[in-house]
Assembly symmetry: C2
Homo-oligomer: 441 residues x 2
């Protein structure tokens, strides 16, 4: 055991920060026994010193100025858990410039400024650790960096937003409406008062960018990812999905197309076969399926957010940071196997689709849509429909579902522009991709 304890500086004592502090206290004996390094929390920066907290913290640890933490010469490692990208950027870059290793779970920060931050870390020879940034308690970062190190990554397919997965699960299992499911999620604390980033897919997109960066050795700008949220999915879509042997999940898809050398990179709600293991990932749980050329298919499952699961990931980073602080040469840093992969245009991506139109109950409507799809070379594999209700003009609007054979997204969009011209077809049909995920067994 080293004599002098490693001194930690914690910035942020919100949900995750308090989980980290409490766990470092509660499981202190276990941690020191396992990592054989004595440590202590030296200082904690909070935004408001007078705030009442559930977590008991000795008053002398607290400061309301993060500079006190970063500039404390005795503090070895900075743990940034305030979220947001403005102050967090200043904290992380100041710490790295001061040669202090950083542990962070800030996905928005890394998605937006990862390229610059990783470069700074590399230039300064000061590590940054971010296990908690892409899957809460799921050890996906370490798995990509070390366990799967000998693999070229073929694809990463994941459910990595707990809020949206909770909403979709409630709609799928209980038949809830979107609005009710969202309200329930908010009541249970699984959704923020402003759930925008969760339901519009951008929280998942931030995590996807971090995963893609690790898997392919290069940072990717946020404007390269195609993102679609879950706001337009209705319980009707779940009814159709169920009948057809599917459920609906918000999937992150990162997939290398070896023939074109291009990366498919998108977040979209999708049909998933009900026998697939991802269909069993319900509620606030997350799962990330990684396929490598050597290991084949793997999947990592767990709580993707929340106080303690995220604290577990943060602390695994803290331990690694302490070990590498004592043996700095051990650190290898960001996996440098960058290939010049382009990002595939969403219009070039191919899959089969579920499309639910709302159509007026008029003779010839089905023929009209089918004809337009055929004109664009798009085949129909199955259809289904459900009786609707009449509008104020006495026109009955039915749900008409087409399951379409594989075609390019761009081609489908052109066809849908054409169907939207018909007075008997409501605009903005619900379009969901059908992901044929391996393996069945």
């Amino acid at each position: 055991m080293t004599e002098k304890p490693i001194q930690l500086g914690l910035i942020g004592l919100g949900t995750v920060g308090s989980g980290v502090y409490e766990t470092l206290c509660r499981n202190h004996a276990l941690l020191e026994a396992r990592c054989k390094i004595p440590f202590l929390v030296k200082k904690i920066a909070v935004s408001d010193l007078s705030k009442k907290r559930d977590t008991e913290v000795p008053a002398e640890l607290l400061t309301d100025d993060w500079h006190d933490v970063v500039n404390d010469p005795e503090i070895d490692i900075i743990i940034e858990l305030i979220g947001g990208t403005k102050t967090a950027y200043d904290i992380v870059t100041s710490a790295l410039r001061a040669g202090k290793p950083v542990v962070t779970g800030n996905k928005a920060l890394l998605a937006e400024f990862g390229s610059e931050i990783f470069k700074l870390s590399s230039e300064k020879g000061t590590p940054i650790y971010f296990e908690a940034s892409a899957g809460g308690g799921i050890p996906i970062i370490q798995s990509l960096q070390t366990s799967l190190i000998c693999n070229h990554i073929d694809s990463i397919v994941g459910i990595i937003n707990g809020t949206s997965n909770y909403i979709l699960s409630a709609m799928g299992e209980g038949g809830a409406d979107y609005a009710d499911a969202l309200q329930k999620a908010q009541e249970l604390g699984f959704a923020e008062l402003d759930p925008t980033l969760d339901v519009n897919g951008w929280d998942a997109a931030h995590k996807a960018l971090i995963l893609a960066t690790l898997a392919y050795g290069t940072t990717i700008s946020p404007d390269k990812i195609f993102v679609q949220g879950i706001e337009n999915i209705t319980s009707k879509d779940f009814n159709f999905a169920k009948k057809l042997g599917y459920t609906i999940k918000l999937l992150v898809i990162i997939r290398l197309h070896k023939d074109s050398g291009k990366l498919e990179l998108r977040v979209q709600p999708s049909f998933v076969h009900d026998w697939h293991i991802l269909a069993s990932v319900n509620g606030v749980f997350n799962a990330i399926a990684v396929t490598g050329d050597i290991v084949g298919e793997t999947l990592f499952y767990g709580r993707g957010a929340g106080k303690n699961p995220t604290a577990s990931a943060v602390i695994s980073d803290v331990i690694t940071a302490m070990r590498e602080r004592l043996h700095p040469e051990y650190h290898t840093g960001f996996l440098p196997y960058a290939q010049p992969y382009g990002i595939m245009d969403i219009n070039e991506t191919i899959s089969s689709y579920y499309v639910r139109f709302q159509v007026a109950d008029q003779p010839g409507v089905i023929a009209e849509i089918a004809h337009i799809l055929a004109t664009f070379g798009i085949g129909i594999s199955a259809t289904s429909s459900a009786q609707g209700v009449s509008d104020c003009n006495g026109i009955i609007w039915n749900d008409l579902v087409f399951m379409l054979h594989a075609c390019e997204w761009g081609q489908l969009q052109l066809a849908l522009q054409e169907t939207a011209q018909s007075q008997f077809v409501a605009p903005n049909p619900c379009v969901l991709r059908i992901e044929h995920l391996l393996p069945k067994a």
Copy 2:
């Protein structure tokens, strides 16, 4: 990049050994870029030099004496992949004594001699790595050692034998008989010609002992684990399971009972709710669910055996071994958080049960069994039955299923000894535990 390459010695060029050699060659550029350490395979020991191989290996690398590898002063790291426990024991202990770090995937060796080998490794300050010993390509060892380091482990529940899971999946999905499913598994190379250790549960038990050792910081002798195989399960049991909303899986259960301070440690075929994520683990896939006090429920899924998946795990160890060879002080070794946990007697373990009796179609038989169960304080939650066929004496033997409320295993065994006395009840009913696994969502 270090100047002098690390030199590896490979012992064994069977399925996994050839996968390791091929991957080290094929993905050499990627590996050196990622780990920043040059390396080469210096020597490979095989049992028969004249054997034709699918893997192309320069003849000058080969030797048929493993001592040539261990004793080569230029070889830094020994990779033991011959399987079995006799020669493997000599190889591993010789290498450790010679101060050469060892990478192995030999679960039988570690289950039987782990205590001695870990002690030797610790005394010599020479690490041993064994990621491939308990889940093929699934990075469970590293996850327990580092990612989940801040967690007290509450339980580990897993499907960790691919052969038996393939057989059970074929019986569950396709309605195959046990014998047919086993034959199919053998034809496809998923089962050995002698499948004993796979179907009788002992391969899973070896892996369970390694996982328990890591999770609880102490080695456990193989005679402490209760092991039941899948040989007596029939397609009838799958029919009943399906009707009742379950499937059947061979589960490893490692669970700490905090009240008694005892570890439940067993391998048993069990009913699993069909909505649980473990029910979706089919074919040769494995999955290991780990619950920690901080991270909550996690699950790790992937190919639990086979050439390349296992090679992926072996190579992740090789890379760690190389990094720690260059920075030996970094190595922490076996997690030392041993608590004086006793092992729970199987008779004390409690669960609900599925019991399928074969009973003569006679008035009073159901009453008789129900009465005996009641005498032992065992409640019945549901019953189901299926018409059988008559034997040579013209007696019709029906399948009679009782779903039993939770009781001690020992109590149930006493009751079953009593029912076996009846001339109208066939001996050896099929008893399967019902595992109420969390979480539903």
